[in-house]
Symmetry: C2
């Protein structure tokens, strides 16, 4: 099965047009034609099971059924510093979206190796992963902002900061978070958090947790935190 993405669709629409990119994929790559079935999502929880009514460089379809997927009974937000090597953060986006995540926020920390991130490319990867994994919700993606600004803006009730335990005994995230919550987890840059950043986070009510005994790369830690919360709610 293939899923297409048309963000402008609403459940009120009886018909629609695929984006040019998706139209090419449907008619050229998959060779779909008039009368063929087509599943489209708006990325806001609705899947439109449709039939193709026009198949050239534009792909028009008539909506037959709208299937609504409610949001998950919990919400995972991962706040992460972009990695020096873009492939690594892009890989995290693809995998986190496949596995299930509600929101990804980027921040620039004192030890960040990368301070600028083009969200456009990240969005393309997120959309592709949503389609690939047949989901009807596209996660929210936030532009990179300074760490202090992010920490002050997080409103999720269950707030965590992932940190490798040193002398202080730290509990695993999956044993600290409670089910069906609204979660936000801070993942440090390759250079780790600065002492003052850790202090800012704890003062803002972020609880220090560990993701396990091993030293993890930034993108590995980010995905592991996402998975801990998904599994907690499975």
């Amino acid at each position: 099965m293939h899923l297409f993405y048309q963000p402008t669709l609403t459940p009120a629409d009886a018909a629609g047009l695929l984006t040019d990119e998706d139209a090419r994929h449907a008619t050229r790559t998959l060779r779909l034609g008039v009368g063929d079935a087509l599943s489209v999502t708006d990325g806001r929880g609705n899947r439109y099971d449709s039939v193709i009514t026009k198949a050239d460089k534009h792909c028009a379809f008539r909506v037959q059924t709208v299937i609504e997927t409610p949001p998950r009974p919990f919400a995972v937000r991962i706040c992460v510093a972009p990695t020096k090597n873009l492939d690594r953060i892009e890989w995290f986006i693809e995998k986190a979206v496949e596995l299930g995540i509600e929101r990804i926020s980027f921040f620039v920390g004192q030890h960040s190796e990368r301070r600028i991130l083009k969200l456009e490319r990240i969005e393309k990867i997120a959309v592709a992963a949503m389609k690939q994994s047949l989901q009807a919700w596209l996660p929210k993606l936030d532009e990179a902002i300074p760490f202090a600004k992010l920490v002050a803006s997080v409103s999720e009730s269950q707030r965590f900061v992932a940190h490798l335990p040193e002398n202080v005994p730290t509990q695993p995230l999956i044993r600290t978070a409670t089910p069906t919550g609204q979660y936000a987890v801070l993942i440090g840059p390759e250079g780790d958090f600065s002492a003052s950043e850790l202090q800012q986070a704890t003062q803002a009510g972020f609880q220090m947790v560990t993701l396990g005994p091993n030293r993890l790369r930034t993108e590995t830690a980010a995905l592991s935190a996402c998975q801990a919360l998904n599994f907690l709610n499975q």
Copy 2:
């Protein structure tokens, strides 16, 4: 901290030599010299905290302390079909080793898109990830063998096959496995298992489990299964 790998070391050794590749990394890249501290693992649970005694194209060291890490009280074995795109399976290896895994076995299924896999490159990635995550154990890697042969050879007491639930209600892996076990999980190829392969697996005592509601790529499913078992034991 940097960790080096010398598989020929044994706890009886008072001194050793790094491999040429690690020697280059230590003396050229990191500019370590005589008298500098050096941590080396044999990949079999021992870390040798040493001091450099010779630093040219060979890097010789004297062992000061041997720190032994016991194996984990559980063991995760993931059996997976190599992906058509090698990057994807290589990414799985890197991440699974970082996060913790005891054994990775490859198989060729009826719907496999790739039938040959060079283990040498996979081993390099596993060693790099072991060093990166500062672990003293190198997972066992098995050459790709036919599915039937693999299924017959698996001796772990907790055996699972990951499969997307269709009509049959399937329980999540993390709610089905029990802690401190010896686990083996079968992950299907991009073309999924064939009906007869699923039958062979269940007849061999593999329990069908789900990794969640989303359709996952092979490498994503493999890492998710590994993480479910790691989190179960956290």
